[in-house]
């Protein structure tokens, strides 16, 4: 997911509020709105991001990591046992040629990835490594590998319990598998939980999937062209998103959907170039990652600090357990729902294990983070909250500086990538929010239009104002989705186990065969 730390955002806002400029704005409408929202939503946000007593470890991160571990063990390390099979499915080896023209496994995976790869991989990793040191990467990779099992579980259910309508369209996601799955198992409360999930999904879509993206996109653009009012960016973004989701202007969506993967490939390619040029330092960088994972190498909080940052960023980046991917993956055409589960487990691998690790390696190798030559440990900044960097950079600026040390013009490409990633995330989340909305209010054209218009209005608000509490609340809503989703997955996972056993047996017996292409 393309969010940076809500904690970092809150800190930044607190710092801004302390400045004379912010004091002048204190009487402004923005500030009043902030205050009202903060008062209304504060307890909810605090609850979701509350740390375990006596630690700074948010319980929601532990909730996601424990779930991922449970699913990994329950399904017997499915992410490793069926990894090769997942690749074969994406390649189309098991796709019936008579189904050509339907949504392929590759397309469902690419669509889901376009909703997750983005700011989380660029800015989030820099936050993790900047605070938790290189060791955070180790825990991030571990969390990514475990998260593959969460995705597998939710996406299998997403396809199995989707709604297929007479006109050939489909709707799927946690709200459908929660209500149908609970009813199938004779469990009470499925409908209520599905409604609660949908409410959180709509709030998450409008916030983290929309306002936060618009806000970050404006920050990037104004960082290059100079400061200007955010509502201008908001109006432009809203107009383009409106044209795509309401006007059905496919050409814009088509261009985005082609450019975004290209930007992703360019990003990974640039990281690879930097790593190849500095190949002699890769061993050292991995040494730092392993050493830092267990000693902390002097970072604030030591080994635990590295672990918290790594787990937190991985969970925030790949959305495993949140339930959003189940909505995206449910459109695939397959007779075996579990095949989409196998394909979806590649998502945290690509997002977290590959792309996030690339970013982390580039940051470590670029030596933007200052090492004390005497101790070999990292030096902390003046506040003692993060590792000191060469130019005092953090977040996306640190990633940008790290890439610039290898490829001087890359920050411009990165800025464009951030804006495009933000746009593609908005398009993806507009769909996730819409599916939750239509689950609650029905699949009529009017109902859909109402949500789409609301969605576009929130883009303008998100870009125009620094509504910190609103964004905090929206991020909290996304993770609240995970609270409901994972709670339900614990009850529903036996349904996935039945599918897995049946499929594995038929695959072994040769009943499920490759098609010759």
């Amino acid at each position: 997911m393309k969010t940076t730390s809500v904690f970092g955002l809150t800190t930044a806002l607190a710092a801004a509020a302390a400045s004379p400029l912010a004091a002048q704005d204190a009487v402004g409408i923005d500030e009043k709105v902030n205050q009202v929202f903060a008062d209304l939503t504060g307890p909810f946000v605090s609850l979701i991001f509350a740390p375990f007593p006596g630690t700074s470890f948010p319980w929601i991160v532990m909730w996601l990591v424990i779930a991922a571990t449970v699913f990994t063990l329950y399904f017997g390390f499915v992410q490793f046992r069926f990894f090769k099979h997942a690749i074969q499915l994406v390649k189309g080896d098991y796709s019936d040629p008579n189904d050509a023209g339907e949504v392929s496994h590759f397309q469902a995976l690419a669509t889901a990835l376009s909703g997750t790869v983005g700011l989380g991989n660029i800015a989030g990793v820099a936050v993790a490594v900047g605070i938790g040191g290189p060791g955070a990467t180790f825990w991030m990779i571990l969390a990514g590998l475990l998260g593959m099992a969460s995705k597998f579980t939710e996406c299998t259910l997403g396809v199995k319990y989707r709604n297929e309508y007479d006109d050939g369209t489909v709707s799927g996601g946690p709200m459908y598998y929660i209500s149908k799955g609970f009813s199938e198992l004779g469990l009470p409360g499925g409908k209520i939980l599905a409604v609660v999930f949908s409410v959180f999904c709509i709030l998450g879509a409008l916030g983290g999937g929309n306002m936060f993206q618009a806000n970050q996109a404006h920050a990037q653009i104004s960082g290059i062209v100079g400061d200007y009012p955010g509502w201008i960016t908001g109006i432009i973004f809203a107009a383009v998103v409106f044209a795509v989701i309401v006007g059905g202007i496919k050409s814009i969506a088509n261009v985005t959907e082609k450019v975004v993967p290209f930007m992703g490939i360019l990003y990974v390619g640039a990281a690879l170039v930097i790593l190849i040029v500095n190949y002699d330092q890769i061993g050292w960088a991995f040494g730092q990652i392993f050493a830092g994972a267990f000693t902390g190498l002097g970072v604030a909080g030591g080994m635990v600090g590295a672990l918290i940052q790594g787990f937190k960023r991985a969970a925030f980046s790949n959305e495993a357990g949140v339930g959003s991917a189940a909505i995206a993956h449910s459109a695939v055409r397959t007779k075996e729902p579990i095949t989409e589960g196998f394909v979806s487990l590649l998502e945290p691998l690509i997002d977290t294990v590959v792309i996030c690790t690339m970013t982390a390696l580039v940051i470590v190798i670029s030596q933007q983070m200052i090492i004390n030559p005497e101790t070999g440990n990292y030096m902390l900044n003046e506040a003692g909250t993060a590792i000191a960097t060469v130019d005092g950079n953090s977040g996306v600026a640190l990633t940008s500086a790290a890439f610039a040390s290898g490829i001087s013009w890359f920050p411009y490409v990165l800025a464009i990538a951030v804006v495009l990633f933000a746009f593609s995330t908005m398009i993806s989340w507009s769909y996730y929010g819409l599916k939750a909305w239509t689950y609650l209010f029905g699949e009529s054209k009017t109902s859909e239009l109402v949500f789409k218009v609301i969605f576009c209005i929130f883009i303008v608000i998100g870009a125009a104002a620094s509504l910190g509490p609103v964004i905090d609340f929206s991020d909290a809503a996304i993770f609240a989705m995970a609270v409901v989703n994972i709670f339900c997955l614990y009850f529903l996972m036996k349904l996935v186990k039945t599918e897995l056993s049946s499929y594995a047996a038929r695959l072994d017996s040769g009943e499920i065969k490759k098609f010759t292409h």
């Binding site: 040629p97 023209g101 339907e102 397309q107 669509t111 909703g115 050939g168 709707s171 959907e257 082609k258």
Partner: protein, 145 residues
Amino acid sequence: MTVKLVVGLDGTETGDRALAFAKDLASKIDASELIAIYVIEWSPFTFQTADENAKRHLRREEEIDLATSRIVEPAVAALRSAGFNARGIVRHGDVAETLDKLTVENGGSQIIVGRASADGFTKRMFGSSTQNLVMHASVPVTVVG
């Protein structure tokens, strides 16, 4: 033994010329069957939005209906009324690859297509479907100018 001739249709005049040539050829063979195939250009490796994915099945049905009613059925009907043994197939996929695969699957002994109708730039960049077919086909290919 029935000789099966595959005709690649593309909804243009060049496809019609290929059809005319195939008729001429089939009329000289004692037992023949003409298989008219229209391939809807499609790749499983393109990028789509979630909304497009959700509506894809519906669009696919529409595309197949359109290709069948506008291109393949009229061609097959015309062939049958002229006394030929004929049938039609519509399939999504890479044009050259799918045409070849369907020919092999259906026991076709020859493919007859019109010459390239792609525009200059596309043709220079990627080669036309006809060029690709000629280079990779499993059976003889006749290209009608």
